[in-house]
């Protein structure tokens, strides 16, 4: 599968409190959550994000609270993928489980600029920056993560296991 979109760039340690502040956690409605996505880091995010855009951020993306509302809000806001050198481990699990595409790639974070036009080929992990004319290769998913993604998320994987 290939996608194209524009890069929206952030720094290191983007925590789940800024991705979706706790004051909005009295609901788990994804569209409500999306209205406040990134609010405390980038109040303009919700106005400028377009369906298919790609977040490119620094190491330890999604650190902090285990709230699954964070990847849910990002996905519902229209973001097609998050690229970062590393992800906090609960956010990583939550993204796989809720179907938010994530890719680990250190060079992409160093070289991609805000607004660059990107293309991602998920089958090969190749990220192409059409603005800067550079190509990056993301880390491949461990086999078992690929299995969960292939099974269409953890819920389907679990249903199969339970024979439902």
């Amino acid at each position: 599968m290939k996608i194209t979109g524009r890069a929206i760039k952030y720094g290191a340690n983007v925590d789940t409190d800024v991705i979706i502040p706790a004051r909005y956690l009295n609901t788990s409605d994804k569209n409500e959550l999306a209205k406040h996505c990134m609010e405390d880091l980038d109040p303009d995010f919700v106005n400028r994000v377009k369906p298919g855009d790609i977040i490119v951020a620094g190491p330890n993306f999604g650190c902090g609270s285990s709230r699954e509302h964070a990847p849910v809000a990002i996905k519902a806001s229209g973001i097609a993928c998050v690229i970062a050198p590393s992800f906090a481990r609960i956010f990583y699990r939550n993204s796989i489980n809720t179907g938010l595409a994530i890719l680990e790639c250190e060079e992409a974070y160093k070289d991609i600029c805000d607004g660059d036009e990107l293309e991602i080929d998920f089958s090969s992990g190749i990220i192409t920056d059409h603005t800067a004319h550079v190509v990056f290769r993301a880390n491949a998913f461990p086999e078992f993560i690929a299995e969960i993604i292939e099974a269409d998320g953890l819920v389907e994987y679990t249903r199969k296991k339970l024979g439902k």
Partner: protein, 429 residues
């Protein structure tokens, strides 16, 4: 080069039915306990119902605690709590803790307190601070709502076997230094992703110096340097704590120790006697400064409590500082005993009267202010010294407010001083 397993790997191997596991492997592990709260459980319930999972795998192994926005802070929060309550009733969940009832409180305070976590257990919770129970020699870690939903159905979950950082503790703690200063210092040293995906395995003669409250605080914040879990060896302190709370608990499992030739990614030594009271400045827990190395910072609020520092030992330390003193003019001090048990004990020991006489707000157990929910939300530009665990942008309120993380004694002293300071700066009460 050794080939042995770390303590965490031993627990995971046991729960995966394997003799030996290696870092990086995927395993499926049986779970002894699962936890959810009023923020993370409602999406898990939706997932559980949408997937037609039917019944939970074991009604005795699921703990549901309405503690984040409870006592209900608004109508939407009340709906979330009701959803969890109805699910608990429908599934006949044994350990559903209703607001105000016996055993209730902040999730990570009440699980050890009620004897629900034991050495060698394998525990997940839909809350990042689930890593707290490593203090008891358990493997415990945070997950999300979908993981919780699936694990409620199967009683298992997958883990990538983590590598470990060995932290060797030596020496004795100085006055006004506690487990909070130990973990903040460690996070300051290795950074907020310094232990990403890995275990923090504590060991060394310094362990005996730490109370169970100190160890719970240390493991609670393992997540703040990215760790999958933090874990302490089981010793006399652990056994005494567990035997008092788990009916019939005799001895630690004989397999529960790291192999002598266990493989560690790195080894860190911490001399407890070299640790001074520290404060984490906005907006990262790793942004630590030793008390006395910065100028006078005036504050608007102090919070003492939370899953990090809401235990009776913390209440006693706060009361020892506040006894006979007054909170500074124009400052709000909010004290939150971590559970009904802590609340009652503090009441019986006269600590609550000390807090009220000093001019503090004393609240029911809740996570409220720690995550900017309610019961102490900060206005634009306000500064707060808090014994909680995070100081990210907007964590406790307005995005231009500031949270300074500290231990209980520094927080209580700062409430009296009106600025971030040490108990040594207080005049005689």
């Amino acid at each position: 080069m050794g080939i042995g397993m770390t303590m965490t790997q031993k627990i995971l191997a046991k729960h995966a039915g394997r003799e030996m596991i290696r870092e990086g492997e995927l395993i499926e592990a049986k779970l002894d306990l699962l936890l959810g709260n009023d923020i993370t459980t409602p999406p898990a319930i939706d997932c559980f119902r949408d997937s037609a999972f039917g019944s939970v795998f074991d009604k005795d192994k699921i703990v549901l605690v309405p503690d984040h926005f409870a006592p209900n802070k608004d109508i939407k929060s009340a709906e979330q709590c009701r959803k969890m309550r109805e699910f608990a009733r429908e599934q006949n969940i044994t350990h559903y803790f209703e607001q105000g009832q016996a055993g209730m409180g902040v999730e990570h305070v009440i699980i050890p307190e009620n004897g629900l976590a034991r050495p060698g257990d394998c525990i997940i919770g839909a809350d990042s601070h689930t890593c707290t129970y490593g203090a008891l020699g358990a493997f415990s870690t945070g997950v999300g709502s979908t993981d919780l939903a699936c694990a409620m159905a199967t009683g298992t979950t997958w883990f990538r076997v983590p590598g470990a950082i060995k932290v060797i503790l030596t020496g004795n703690l100085n006055p006004y230094v506690s487990g909070k200063d130990v973990i903040l210092s460690l996070i300051g040293k290795i950074g907020v992703d310094g232990a990403l995906y890995r275990s923090l395995e504590f060991c060394g003669e310094g362990v005996a110096e730490l109370t169970m409250a100190d160890r719970l605080t240390i493991c609670n914040m393992a997540i703040e340097c990215g760790a999958k879990n933090g874990i302490f060896p089981v010793d006399a302190t652990t056994l005494e704590y567990v035997r008092e709370r788990v009916p019939g608990y005799a001895d630690q499992p004989e397999w529960l120790f790291p192999d002598e030739d266990a493989v560690y990614e790195s080894i860190l030594e911490m001399d407890l006697s070299s640790i001074r009271p520290v404060v984490s400045f906005p907006h990262l827990p790793s942004n630590t400064k030793e008390l006395g190395t910065f100028g006078k910072i005036r504050i608007d609020q102090v919070v003492v409590g939370s899953c990090t520092n809401g235990r009776i030992e913390d209440m006693r330390k706060a009361a020892a500082i506040l006894r006979g003193r007054k909170v500074a003019d124009g400052l709000r001090a909010i004290i939150l005993p971590g559970s009904q048990k802590v609340y009652k004990q503090a009441l019986e020991e006269g600590l609550l009267a000390v807090f009220v006489d000093a001019g503090c707000v004393v609240s029911a157990p809740t996570c409220g202010p720690c995550l900017g929910g309610y019961m102490g939300v900060l206005a634009k530009g306000e500064k707060c010294v808090s014994t909680t665990n995070r100081n990210f942008v907007g964590r406790m309120g307005h995005k231009e407010s500031e949270v300074y993380l500290a231990g209980v004694e520094v927080a209580a002293a700062s409430a009296v001083l009106g600025y971030i300071g040490s108990p040594d700066e207080l005049s005689e009460a």
